[in-house]
Symmetry: C2
Subunit: 535 residues, 2 copies
């Protein structure tokens, strides 16, 4: 967002603050930034949490939007409020782009693949596209709030879930609860550092007072014994026999910790870190009933301006406007449509195959960005054995079983009979290899692998739904995968747009693969369009 656009923000106080903070960070580093925020009584600066409040009107001007995904629909919703005439072309028969949910009757035919129709029981689904809304994504949350899309917690951190590694040395091929690894690694490490302190090996680093404070901390963090600061286990790692009523089990029986050297050799400690990664932190959300509730909420508001089954064929522009031809995929009839400006929210992976009159530099930028091969499979199980037998309610089982990466159990319908779990979440080579399999073979692959972790797997399997996003027409990939090199070479060019054509989508953000990237990119680009239209 350039300073001119920023100046159009309606809320003056919030604009000046944001702008000032940005300058403070540039000039004085985060130290100055935080001091400034502190002086204002502000917490950590929020991400973009509302659309740009643009002044003036778009009345009498027409914007053609290509693609009714979240970026396109966000732009349509906001531009129409400004008075623009808006038209969206969407190649599919429904809106939402990758924001899809597979439930009974949902069908998908990948390029060169068999037709697949989801056969999950009523009430069960898999979000085979985006499936998480982080608390930091205030832009996405802006619309769920505005459109009153009910949210529920998506269990994204579950220390009671298993870690299962086939290469974990002493624990290879064994299920270990993540909490056991965390409790024991941090316990042993705390004991080790406490020993260093007691042996006066840190006398040069820390004052006697700091050493005492550090020992207090380590004792608490690592549950070290009071006298000799040793780690001998803790209730947080789980009991061998849980406490209960009466005399037996009564207080229960504590479990023994895993050995330090075994844990080191297993490398299982590298599954977690001090805090959850930024976008993955609690509280994580999902819309009640499926992620496509967001797509449908947008569609309800901008659907009247969407022309479905309209596949873009050519894009041309001149000083006066933009002309796009599109094919009706039902009738194969090609028509053309013109507008003053065009916001193209088509993934770059698809855009680069469309006939445009972009200059070579821009074409090259469009062509240069890689797209991620991504695969997911939903497996409907007769019963929720992960809840009933393993007491895992939502969350992820992390594994290095080839081609699986993680198994995720649902955060909805707790304690119901059946459930749909995510059987794999693949990227790169694994995604490419699995996508070459038939639908049946993909399910068999997921089942054979999952069976290693859950012996209840195959006997409970009922039906699957899988997607390989790189083989999905109109997407050709899960999300844009930028490198430092392509960011430098192509990103500023694409963000700037070309004449009367602006681009939007998760690919024009640092939140690639997230719905917030699409929405925030749309917010930025409509500010650009409005600026050009108002000039």
């Amino acid at each position: 967002m350039d300073s001119k656009t920023v100046k159009q923000f309606k809320s003056f106080s919030s604009f000046t603050r944001r702008d000032f903070l940005y300058r403070a960070a540039v000039v004085g580093g985060t130290g100055l930034l935080l001091t400034t925020m502190d002086a204002w009584g502000m917490g950590i600066a929020s991400t973009a949490s509302a659309p740009p409040a643009l002044s003036g009107s778009g009345k009498g001007k027409k914007v053609l939007i290509l693609g009714a995904g979240l970026a396109g629909m966000t732009a349509a919703f906001e531009l129409e409020k400004l008075g623009y005439k808006v038209q969206i072309l969407e190649a599919r028969a429904f809106a939402g782009g990758r924001c899809q949910t597979a439930r009974k009757g949902f069908s998908l035919t990948e390029l060169g693949g068999e037709k697949q129709t989801c056969a999950f029981d009523d009430g069960h689904y898999i979000n085979h596209g985006p499936w998480r809304i982080p608390l930091h994504h205030q832009s996405t949350l802006h619309y769920t709030k505005l459109f009153e899309v009910p949210l529920e917690v998506m269990v994204n951190e579950n220390d009671h879930a298993y870690v299962y590694s086939e290469n974990a040395g002493p624990f290879a091929g064994k299920r270990v609860r993540l909490k056991e690894v965390k409790a024991d690694m941090r316990g042993h490490v705390s004991e080790l550092l406490a020993k260093s302190v007691k042996n006066h090996q840190l006398d040069q680093e820390l004052s006697p007072d700091d050493q005492r404070l550090l020992l207090d901390y380590l004792q608490h963090e690592g549950a070290l014994t009071a006298n000799d600061l040793q780690y001998k286990g803790r209730s947080g790692r789980g009991y061998a026999v849980n406490p209960g009523a009466g005399l037996n089990p009564g207080p229960g029986t504590l479990s023994d910790p895993l050995g330090f050297k075994d844990l080191l050799a297993s490398k299982l400690g590298n599954v977690y870190s001090a805090v959850q990664d930024f976008p993955m932190q609690n509280t994580m959300f999902q819309p009640v009933g499926g992620m496509d509730a967001i797509a449908k909420a947008f569609e309800k508001r901008v659907g009247k301006n969407i022309r479905y089954k309209s596949e873009v064929q050519t894009i041309r522009q001149n000083d006066k406007g933009v002309t796009v031809t599109y094919k009706d995929t039902g009738t194969n009839k090609v028509s053309s449509i013109s507008a003053d400006y065009c916001l193209c929210a088509i993934p770059l992976s698809v855009l680069r195959q469309i006939d445009t009159d972009f200059p070579d530099k821009f074409k090259k930028a469009v062509a240069t960005v890689a797209y991620a091969p991504v695969g997911k499979i939903g497996l409907q199980m007769k019963r929720r054995f992960w809840e009933e037998d393993d007491h895992i309610y939502g969350g992820h089982i992390m594994t290095d079983v080839k081609g699986i990466n993680q198994i995720s159990v649902p955060s909805y319908g707790f304690q119901k009979k059946k459930g749909v779990l995510l059987g794999y979440y693949q990227y790169q080579t694994a995604a490419i290899e699995t996508s070459a399999l038939s639908l049946k073979e993909r399910a068999e692959f997921a089942l054979a692998a999952g069976q290693k972790i859950f012996p209840q797997y195959t006997e409970n399997f009922e039906t699957s739904f899988s997607v390989a996003w790189h083989r999905v027409q109109y997407n050709l990939g899960g999300w844009a995968e930028w490198t430092d090199k392509t960011r430098a070479a192509a990103y500023p060019t694409l963000v700037a747009g070309e004449g009367r054509i602006l681009l939007a989508g998760e690919h024009l953000s640092y939140l690639t693969g997230w719905q917030a990237g699409a929405i925030e990119s749309a917010w930025q680009q409509i500010a650009q369009i409005h600026e050009r239209a108002s000039a």
Copy 2:
């Protein structure tokens, strides 16, 4: 549970396993236990997860149950299935005991206090009694599943929430996000230990291979720099400017870590530990719409056998049976009722004031157990400023502001306009002191304290509902507080019961203050009743 009772378990295979495991733990410690479980392909042994499957019939025998809390209703439900004739006396006009939810119209008059009627808006509530169902409490979850009580996630861990301490040295009186403390303390500590390794101070402790593995771990845990293993912050602690779309904010701006010595001096690191404590771990649940959904589900099934407004006056027994007199609190008429056995699920704090013919030893045991003073207050706020301004969605703000302990924001109704938060959760002295205040003064106390943390507090306050459990008739305390000494002196006596009278409730468990304690205690005691009745 004695071995005789255990033998009555229907499921032979699960009985023998459980029994064998218990013996394995006693004989060979948890090492043998875990080896055995491993050989059977079992994970961590579960707590009691189903009622005892008792053989035989209770037909023709009558059990009188005192108290329609969760223990009493669990016993009634299970005993009736066995053929027993069951009658419950309940002093209140409703069932559930402490399992209550305050919503519009709910009224409570504490002993010596003003009448209080909850005035929250429709759809808002506070669980002023139990409010959490841990995943480990399979007994509670047994009934939510059986009775189809819908559950949702209760956000019990939220690293994005604030820690606020008035005695935190350099951070005194400042809000700090828990994730900042975790990221920075663990980062600094990892750097310190890595330095010890590099300086060969651990050569005697660890082999060169183990040292390399430890450095790998520390680098990952603490986000240390690759070359010189220093901690310089990480995205997981939060950004100064969050990443977004376009060129600005683009990749965002990382925030600077808090200094190690400042953190040590603040003692904020003692707010968390390596893993969450056992009962507090994810996934935590709450029934949709309020905890009393559990009470109502039981009441629906056993309510026909409950005589409400029946205050127990005397308890007598002989070789043939038990006779109880009770006063109808509406008419003040005293009646008597007899049965073959009696299960008394009245809190010990109340039971010790009832006229009984218990022998002195038993009376003394009943009298010896302390009950916890506990206070809670729900504050309805005009808008969810904790969500809108602070991006805290569910979870707890931990604080040492006098008399507050924690402020908890709701895990339901995310993004709605209003919300009811928990303004304090007090024990001991704080609970006693606050309970001496008028209802209005309690709210003012909570507001003045909360205002220090959230400047939006008082301007958004609408109405409150508070409880001091030690002043609630028929409870006289939050829960039983055992010490090692009282456990030794009184617990076995109370668990054994007296003649034809058995006791049940959270107080006869090691899960005091939890609904699971009440349920599992009832399971154990009905097995005892059945054993005696079948003898």
